[in-house]
């Protein structure tokens, strides 16, 4: 008997017909002999509708009340799915985040899960009942409703899988897996049969919006095998696990990109201890998330310091920096909010040289200048002008032959095969 946590996102439960379809899938998995815990999001559009209601009353609604408001979205879905399961003769019980004690910190709208009391879930499972849990929500120590932020249902699913030591956590969504890059941009993009947690983290954080990054972190930390599948198309999806030594990994697994970047450079900073802190301190104080940071060696006691942020934060960041130029010991600040980031990701880079060279060559052949470069163990990122985004991604996808399955890639069967209703693998 295997225990599977299945999570269905908003498009998978967008209306009653789709909820019934999800119920069919859950029942099929039960019939196949699996124990199941199901996590669901709000019906597609519902969260936006609720947000709209809140915003129509106040431009600055309190985060506490917005969480009370938004958490109703998932509560509707859990009840409807439980009803659909019961109609099919499968006992089910819905649970809100509070009811299964998904305890979080007090950070409304972006709370973090601290603990889960699995008692009610285990009792339901022992009673042959399918627990249907509201994703995205929890409860803080004083009993206030919290939400985990957009996409938080993935995190709920993984956290439940970890707490219950489930054999697999399956994230059902409207895409059938993780691709080498966005297929809307590169039609030759290929679904990956598996990627490592580390690669997935880099891919997710860089814009492949398949999974919430926190969910992947969680899954990696607790070693929960995570599988991304389509609700609407049969198939094995993409399995996200730890690197398998028997597997000859591809050098580059995928290409991520981020359209909404802005870069800011402080010029002529005095090279003193604490320089970076004095720059980024006021930026973090304004809750602006910094992505890439590039600093070259100082020349003549002065250095240039560049970082990238989300484009939406650009104006505010520039204002803050201009107001603090003197304190930062900088001569001036320049910036560009029309840039994008392209990243090559692959655990194989660790043992292969020449990846950066091939990247630079491919971009050069397209006449694309590189503004910034940053590297990590399994990733190379470049920032380029936004007009070069598509050409760049396509050139790299071809240069690294990502449309071809990696050679000698032996895929061991996952411990728990995904539930298939038909024989076809999409």
């Amino acid at each position: 008997m295997t225990l599977i946590v299945q999570k269905y996102g908003g498009t998978s439960v967008a209306d009653c017909a789709r909820i019934e379809h999800v119920a069919d899938k859950v029942c099929a998995a039960r019939r196949a002999g699996h124990d199941l815990v199901v996590v669901v999001s709000a019906m597609a559009g519902e969260t936006d509708r609720l947000l709209g209601l809140g915003k129509s009353i106040s431009q600055r609604p309190s985060a506490r009340e917005m969480d009370v408001l938004l958490s109703t979205g998932e509560q509707v879905t859990i009840a409807l799915l439980a009803i659909a399961l019961e109609k099919r003769g499968f006992p089910a019980r819905s649970f809100t985040g509070a009811q299964v004690c998904i305890r979080t910190d007090k950070e409304h709208s972006k709370a973090r899960i601290e603990s889960i009391d699995d008692g009610k879930l285990r009792a339901s499972l022992a009673g042959n009942c399918v627990p249907v849990v509201a994703g995205f929500q929890g409860v803080d120590e004083s009993g206030d409703v919290t939400t985990l932020g957009r996409g938080g249902s993935d995190t709920t699913a993984v956290a439940l899988a970890a707490a219950l030591k489930a054999d697999e956590c399956q994230i059902y969504t409207d895409v059938d897996g993780v691709y080498t890059t966005d297929p809307r941009m590169v039609p030759e993009a290929r679904r990956l049969a598996r990627v490592t947690f580390e690669e997935m983290l880099e891919l997710a954080s860089l814009g492949s919006k398949v999974l919430q990054i926190r969910a992947v972190e969680f899954a990696g930390k607790y070693n929960v095998p995570l599988r991304v599948l389509s609700t609407f198309k049969e198939g094995e999806g993409t399995l996200i696990t730890y690197e398998d030594v028997t597997m000859e990994a591809a050098v580059v697994s995928g290409i991520a990109f981020n359209r909404d970047e802005a870069e800011i450079t402080l010029i002529g900073i005095q090279d003193e201890p604490g320089a970076a802190y004095h720059i980024l301190g006021p930026i973090s104080d304004a809750n602006i998330v910094v992505d890439m940071i590039v600093q070259n060696v100082a020349r003549e006691g002065r250095l240039d310091f560049t970082f990238t942020i989300h484009r939406n934060d650009y104006a505010q960041a520039m204002e803050i920096l201009e107001a603090n130029l003197k304190r930062m010991g900088a001569k001036r600040v320049i910036g560009n909010d029309r840039v994008v980031k392209i990243s090559l990701v692959g655990v194989g880079m660790r043992s292969h040289s020449g990846v950066a060279t091939r990247l630079f060559q491919a971009l050069s052949e397209e006449g694309i200048s590189i503004r910034l470069v940053a590297t990590s163990e399994i990733k190379i990122s470049v920032v380029v002008d936004e007009k070069h985004l598509e050409t760049g991604v396509r050139a790299l996808h071809a240069a690294f032959r990502l449309h071809e399955p990696p050679q000698q890639e032996h895929l061991p069967q996952p411990a728990t095969a995904p539930v298939r209703q038909g024989g076809a693998v999409g």
Copy 2:
């Protein structure tokens, strides 16, 4: 400093504009120096929308899951009203039924409140904050969400007022008080400045759907002064309290009626102990609520036994009785599901004779035959053919001169005057 519990029904919070209007009223009451606890229903139409979703998936959704589903309606409203209050500079905190521990029994969809933990509410009030509580919902001992049944928000408000020993519980609705009868039927119908709990119970249970009957019972039991007011029209509404000895009560306060009656008569029952039990036992087992019961003295060891039920239950009740005729010792069963009930209600009846006579005379003058009569201390009910409903009610309203204010009715000022924003009394 007085403490007022205000409850706003679904039409009062039907959209964001109305929620803002409610927020204005709450703020006005706060500015007038009152402490406030606010109870709200789901936005009008929302409960039906949710019911529709549930029913579209299953004709027989489980009561547990329907409660999870429906309770989201009020949760949306509490958040929106709290946001609207905060926007106006009045600190507010929303609470679901579970969060203020409105503990109920386990009867999903018609749960009864057993206890309320007033800790969080008192803490909010002490912090100068307006608690906004979801009506209609509670939580059972195992943490499952329950609902109190339609109109249960009234009960929530009264229960909170009782628990907090509030000075007044104000029920804001779309009518501006309790009338001598339904003004849509009798244009001369007059708003009552006050009625007693007992009269209100009779009026409510008989079809004046202003207040949920359980709320009135609760208010009577805990002696919570209850006031019905309009959200949309200024005025003092109707105060429901205990009978005031200084008050020269009207003989008849109002006329209630019920369109959806059915009567059933068992003929020729053997006059033995347990006869009534053998008839009504199977009826209650089928969860059919019996209203009037009329039994005359037996003649020659046989009697006829008549009772009324809701019209919707008529077919089922007839089936049950026909199947059990022998066991009941009855000769046959006859029935009529095209009848209505008209009731005169008034505490003054206790000390006035001749009310029944005047009633019979008025109906007789209109050529209306009376099928059944039942009386209580403060009520006389008659069952007539449904075609006589309007003529009957109008005739009685005129005969008892209900369009005229009762003479010598001295209305002592209630302890807590209702909050008025303007000077006009509607």
